[in-house]
Symmetry: C2
Subunit: 210 residues, 2 copies
């Protein structure tokens, strides 16, 4: 991690990703300028927070005019490095993997599922959407061949997740999106984000009336 990435709080990054998704929608609708108050309406993040988040990355917008949607889109895309194509390895071709690979906004942010891996012989050699499914034992070989991905999505059952993490890290992956409800052990230089649906429900459950 370089110095810049160390000092930006993770919640700021999460909101930056949210602003970008919103800006891409607005840009697609040919909206040219927005204010931070507009952004609050679109994202539910308050305007002062939006301005503070941007301030980590320099000067944006013009007083009295607001933010140019195409320019802000371009700059946040560059900050998040989604201005260039990022090949992604997807491990797990089950229901979740299928849902992920078919997510319509992936390509908009230049993520490309470059290869899918599974251990089910009935799936290996076939395609998930239009991407080849390979034997899970071939991760290193396939990635080295032409893909050279640094991002991987783990969508396998818990019992297999650590082994998959070890395999993708070994072949050069430095960022993992993990859907298995386990804490992965990875080297310090690898970033992991966990998505656990049941934990999300538990947080919601807390807010229910007794």
């Amino acid at each position: 991690m370089n110095q810049q990435t160390q000092k930006v709080p993770v919640p700021t990054l999460e909101r930056m990703a949210r602003y970008l998704a919103c800006l891409l929608d607005l840009d697609a609708k040919s909206v040219e300028t927005i204010s931070s108050a507009d952004m609050e309406r679109y994202t539910d993040v308050n305007a002062a927070q939006f301005r503070k988040d941007l301030s980590y990355f320099g000067e944006f917008g013009r007083p009295g005019i607001g933010y140019s949607v195409p320019e802000l889109t371009r700059r946040i895309s560059k900050i998040l490095k989604v201005d260039r194509e990022q090949p992604v390895l997807l491990v797990g071709a089950g229901n979740l993997g299928s849902a992920l690979a078919g997510y319509p906004s992936l390509s908009r942010e230049h993520f490309r599922i470059a290869a899918v891996f599974d251990n089910n012989p009935a799936k290996i050699g076939h395609k998930l959407w239009d991407v080849d499914i390979y034997d899970i034992s071939k991760i290193a070989e396939v990635n080295a061949r032409s893909i050279d991905a640094r991002l991987a999505i783990i969508a396998v059952p818990s019992a297999a997740a650590q082994q998959v993490a070890d395999a993708v890290v070994k072949c050069g992956v430095t960022a993992i999106l993990n859907f298995a409800p386990v804490t992965l052990r990875v080297p310090r230089e690898v970033t992991v984000r966990n998505v656990d649906f049941v934990q999300e429900l538990a947080v919601l459950s807390f807010h229910l009336a007794p």
Copy 2:
């Protein structure tokens, strides 16, 4: 929201949900006692943070002895209200809905997918896993009949998400887990958590070397 729920920071709640998932694993393995240092090893949340998070909810553990796994499990379950069955409405019976409904740890935290809704005539009247799939126009009727769920999962395409949110809120839902990449408009008393895979990837992408 009562006073207690207002003062607990969301990141604390997220970590509480993570501690619970970990404790349930440990309890299943008949581990009886843990220290905050053990917890750090299992969850990657540092020990001081763990103790601070718990302090929002009272006194836990005993100096020199640690935390009783069954007791801590029981108390956090109660705090998060996952000590009782929570029926959940799932809207969207596609790949994502199938993955969610089949998530093995749902039942462990007493979440029960009570009814599934879709607008696809080929699915309506059939089952997703062992749960009936109803016409999406029947949400209010089905929920009122016997379920009375206050939690809903929205796993439909973006264009349909707001309409679904309106429908579930109208029938008494106060907490929504939303997988559609849109900002839902809901009344103030309704809690929404958004899971957006592409935003997760964008946060990871930020951390990649240039």
